[in-house]
Symmetry: C2
Subunit: 325 residues, 2 copies
């Protein structure tokens, strides 16, 4: 494992690119804390450290990738703004990152998006265009917005600058932790965070095994890995709303060739893990962010006595509609 | 303001005592993070830093005082254990601090204490004796337990070692923040945290103004300060259950002579501040911990453009019974 990585369809971020991205975004993103919890160590039999991206600006790690993408725009691109389709954390992250640099953000959201998410994007001055809740409608509406505005499309995960930004999460974790963990485990939806984590691991912590965690109800990454070929999600139903998306053409090959394993967990495990974190660690994580801890607790043998870094990916959830009430 | 403080009925912790306490407890307590929130800065017009004792072990700053008291026991005292009466965070903190040193903890709790609090103390191996929910019953039951066991009584706040431990919260904050804030604001119930904060401020940050915040519905500190004489709480009803207690004979004179002001806030403000913190900062704070932020938001003129340290005192609350549901 050297300082290079195999090139797929597009050039992937190199070690120096990740280091540069970390410097580039450092004055805009939060250095989120690493927390530990004696109760969860006891429960799991592992030594867990939690990277709290739920405490990141805009409430998730997505702010890293969005900020990196925004800061890499040319002046001409910046003058025309950015656009994306998302009902989730990437929309909020991109809107806030754009606002911070006084850049316009055009967000295409399905008409049935939760009101808290719509309000959050509006709060960050995002220009919202609503569409039918289908992928086709999202893409055609986005294309229309893009043509009208000339805005640069920042894909939620299938974008090199976004992946490079997400790679800084584990990079920062390694700087905080001093010694590399035995495992790092992140959620996997579109694969931006997981592929970024893999790149950082290969360059800076090659002995750390990288694991992706997803709901059984949206286990396209697990299915793809077992089949050895990309299998998309088909209308998945899970409480982990951030993990419904399929992998992308950039993220899938990185994951296929480098991930140690994909672990899939039940809905009940996700809710239990989420509740445990709120109750014992006193922090708010969203269902998607609870998936890696659920995977640790469902696979105790694998992690016993190991040092495991767990990424809490985000904290955006409706406080008035909690799964245990 | 020098390195001494006026002595009242009992010798108060000196600067060297607080420094020693900080060293003594450092391997047992968490160095809790300081967090910031752009939204709350915008809302308040102040520059706020939040000391997250909700992320402390046992879920509150009380673990500092309890740990300091436990570590200062003689071997003979330790062999007989500790006892207290509390239905709240001190009970959990003392039980866990005692367990950590393999010392017995006897906790007297009212029979109507919330089940989550009873379960937490049991989870820390505390020996619970239930009593009638009156101060008289608590004191007589405690006296009985003390006689039977020979355990050392660790009062929740009217105890020098406990106050010394609570003083380390602001001491640690000062070390993290590098420059002293214009204001530090803590909740005030029995006054252990507030008087400890005052002592640390006088010794190590004499220009920082110390403010106590309490519910209007339990404003014994405000009343006492205005009257210039100790006025106890009388059956207060507030959602901030940790702040119902009256000041103590040790804490009241320190507060009387040194506090910059006591600010009292409405129940509605407390719930609003609590919700804001959960929603925007993604951390779980209990109602009592929201009281200082509520005071900042109710008194914007006082804090405008000032650097204000706000202590989030604890995070122990029933997730299945939230005030906004």
């Amino acid at each position: 494992m050297g300082n290079e990585i195999e090139i797929y369809n597009a050039p992937l971020p190199r070690a120096t690119d990740i280091d540069s991205a970390n410097k580039r975004i450092s004055e805009y993103v939060k250095q989120t804390p690493l927390l530990t919890c004696a109760t969860l160590n006891d429960l799991s039999g592992a030594s867990l450290v939690f990277k709290c991206e739920n405490l990141q600006k805009a409430g998730s790690f997505k702010y890293r990738g969005a900020t990196n993408a925004i800061l890499k725009l040319t002046s001409l691109q910046a003058s025309k703004g950015v656009c994306t389709h998302s009902s989730g954390n990437h929309a909020q992250a991109l809107a806030l990152a754009a606002k911070t640099k006084s850049i316009a953000a055009y967000i295409v959201m399905p008409g049935n998006a939760p009101r808290v998410k719509v309000d959050a994007v509006k709060g960050y001055n995002g220009n919202i265009t609503f569409c039918e809740p289908t992928l086709q409608a999202r893409e055609s509406t986005l294309e229309k917005v893009r043509k009208e505005t000339g805005a640069e499309f920042i894909h939620p995960y299938n974008n090199i600058n976004v992946i490079e930004g997400q790679a800084t999460c584990f990079y920062e974790l390694l700087q905080q932790l001093k010694t590399a963990p035995d495992y790092v485990i992140t959620p996997v939806g579109g694969g931006g965070l997981l592929s970024g984590t893999i790149l950082t691991s290969r360059y800076f912590a090659p002995r750390t095994k990288v694991i992706g965690a997803e709901p059984i109800m949206a286990n396209d990454a697990w299915q793809s890995l077992k089949a050895g070929t990309f299998i998309p999600s088909e209308n998945p139903q899970t409480i982990a709303d951030g993990l419904k998306t399929s992998l992308g053409s950039l993220t899938w090959p990185v994951i296929r060739d480098n991930v140690y394993d994909i672990l899939a967990v039940s809905e009940e495990s996700i809710i239990n893990a989420m509740y445990l974190v709120w109750e014992r660690m006193k922090i708010v994580i969203e269902p998607s962010a609870a998936v890696p801890l659920a995977a640790v607790l469902e696979n105790k043998e694998l992690f016993r006595n190991k040092k495991v870094a767990v990424v809490f990916s985000g904290g955006n959830t409706d406080l008035k509609n909690l799964p245990w009430n």
